[in-house]
């Protein structure tokens, strides 16, 4: 299987606090990987290191056979191939729904406005937000904002989508609409890397589940292996805490 991103010996420290320790990990094309683990275990940091919002302290990130931590590498060109969905949505406040999904295409990929608009509308339709093209972010509910954020990332037609707890900032009644969109996306063969606390969701959509604990990958495997037959004691303890 062809891997899209491969992380080798990745480490990250904030001051003398070592948050990620020697992480080896890869995402294959078309795969849906869910990262689970307790709060503070480094899940967000791993995701943020992968798209270089945090600068890794050591190790390599291989993308298309190149180490993108190499000084010569164009990080902007790399980042536009990764879609990122944030816990806090982070829609551009000065743009309406449509231009949130267009501005990256026009500025970064240099698409014409006409093409960008077609692409944006296509993905807004996928997330069910095509009726709201004229709305400003502050006029939307949390669930709607997050669906627009997903459409914005998809509009860049990335190789991988990264999600950092996309439903954690949502009111319970809006979690479903976002997870539904993500399930549909998973079904289309999109490569996805998802940090989540939604265990049922992970069980259902993940091809592989990665359990992180204290800055290391403690265990990984199919949802069946992780949820039904965890080998490590810490995995068992974590699942007992969260599933009960």
């Amino acid at each position: 299987m062809q891997n899209v991103i491969e992380v080798q010996h990745l480490s990250k420290s904030f001051g003398n606090h070592e948050v990620l320790k020697d992480i080896d990990f890869s995402v294959n094309k078309g795969e849906v990987v869910c990262i689970i683990g307790s709060s503070g275990s480094g899940k967000s940091t791993l995701l943020r290191c992968i798209n270089l919002l945090e600068k890794p302290s050591g190790g390599q990130i291989i993308y298309h056979g190149e180490n993108i931590l190499d000084e010569k590498h164009d990080i902007h060109a790399y980042r536009k191939k990764l879609g990122m969905v944030f816990q806090q949505f982070n829609l551009f406040n000065n743009h309406n729904v449509l231009s949130n999904c267009m501005v990256g295409q026009v500025k970064v990929i240099k698409r014409s406005k006409e093409d960008a608009e077609k692409v944006a509308l296509k993905y807004l339709k996928v997330v069910g937000m095509d009726q709201y093209v004229n709305a400003k972010p502050k006029q939307l509910s949390g669930g709607q904002k997050q669906r627009v954020a997903i459409a914005r990332a998809l509009s860049m037609e990335p190789d991988v989508m990264l999600f950092d707890e996309p439903t954690s900032a949502l009111d319970p009644e809006m979690v479903g609409e976002v997870l539904k969109v993500m399930k549909e996306l998973a079904g289309t063969g999109l490569t996805m890397l998802i940090v989540t606390h939604e265990m049922e969701f992970a069980k259902e959509v993940a091809d592989r589940v990665v359990f992180m604990d204290k800055g290391v990958i403690a265990e990984e495997g199919t949802p069946e292996q992780i949820f039904n037959n965890p080998k490590e004691d810490r995995t068992k303890a974590f699942l007992k805490r969260t599933l009960s």
């Binding site: 919002l53 536009k80 990122m84 551009f92 449509l98 500025k107 009726q131 093209v133 006029q139 954020a149």
Partner: protein, 253 residues
């Protein structure tokens, strides 16, 4: 000092007052616009994240140092004194006889720029970190992020402070009479010198200053409301894609 006297003073001298008010407006409008541009540029440069490469880092450090010196110097000295130093200094050092109006615009611009640089920096800092991260995550560089995402929000947020600066400029151009700029205060002083009356010309100038500043306040309020856009949005049924661009006001430049 009677109403009649003031009215006759206006009817006799209105071209002078009007020219003075016009000059005051000209200097403060151009000065505020140039100052705002300087402030935006300085603010953008001063918020560039520390680069990886050593050479770039050193260049950025030097540029930032120059900007700091500029800002601190012009904020830290009176405009009146700056006007004297620049106007007479340029004559002394380079033998240039600066056009007085040009000198006035120059001084107000760099002065405003120094204040605006700090206002812009504050505005950039106050933008949610998530806006920067989202822009970076879709591959924008610092200038694209600034231009398409951050500055439009900063400009909206600093509009009240900019209006404030504009009003200060309208009032503070009066100090430029020291280099003989024929702004409103200079003209009022001239009228006073001719008529040997002091209260009336300055009273008229006072009213004119207030009319100018209050008009600016009202215009800026209007612009603020315009920028905030409508409270409501319209749902789109099945939009014909070709019509959308004009209708939906995408603000991508």
């Amino acid at each position: 000092m009677s109403i009649e006297y003031i009215i006759s003073m206006i009817t006799n001298n209105w071209p002078m007052f009007l020219r003075g008010a016009g000059m005051t407006l000209l200097i403060s409008i151009i000065g505020t616009i140039f100052g705002a541009v300087i402030g935006l540029l300085a603010g953008v440069i001063r918020t560039i994240p520390t680069p990886e490469r050593k050479l770039k880092r050193i260049v950025l450090k030097i540029v930032n140092l120059i900007l700091s010196v500029y800002i601190e110097f012009f904020r830290g000295t009176p405009m009146l004194v700056q006007a004297m130093v620049i106007f007479y200094g340029s004559a002394l050092a380079f033998g240039i006889d600066m056009d007085r109006t040009m000198a006035a615009i120059f001084i107000v611009s760099i002065n405003t720029g120094a204040y605006m640089a700090e206002i812009v920096r504050g505005g950039v800092i106050s933008i949610d970190k998530g806006q920067f991260e989202a822009a970076q995550a879709i591959g924008m560089n610092h200038f694209q992020t600034m231009w398409s995402v951050v500055l439009p929000q900063v400009i909206r947020n600093i509009l009240p402070a900019t209006g404030n600066q504009f009003i200060i400029n309208i009032k503070d151009t009066s100090v430029l009479n020291v280099i003989g700029v024929t702004e409103l205060y200079f003209q009022a002083k001239t009228v006073a010198g001719i008529s040997f009356k002091y209260f009336e010309p300055f009273f008229i100038a006072c009213i004119l200053y207030f009319v100018m500043t209050f008009t600016v306040t009202l215009i800026l309020r209007y612009i603020e409301r315009k920028l905030d856009g409508p409270e409501n949005y319209s749902m789109i049924g099945q939009p014909p894609p070709q019509l959308m661009l004009t209708k939906s006001n995408t603000n991508i430049d």
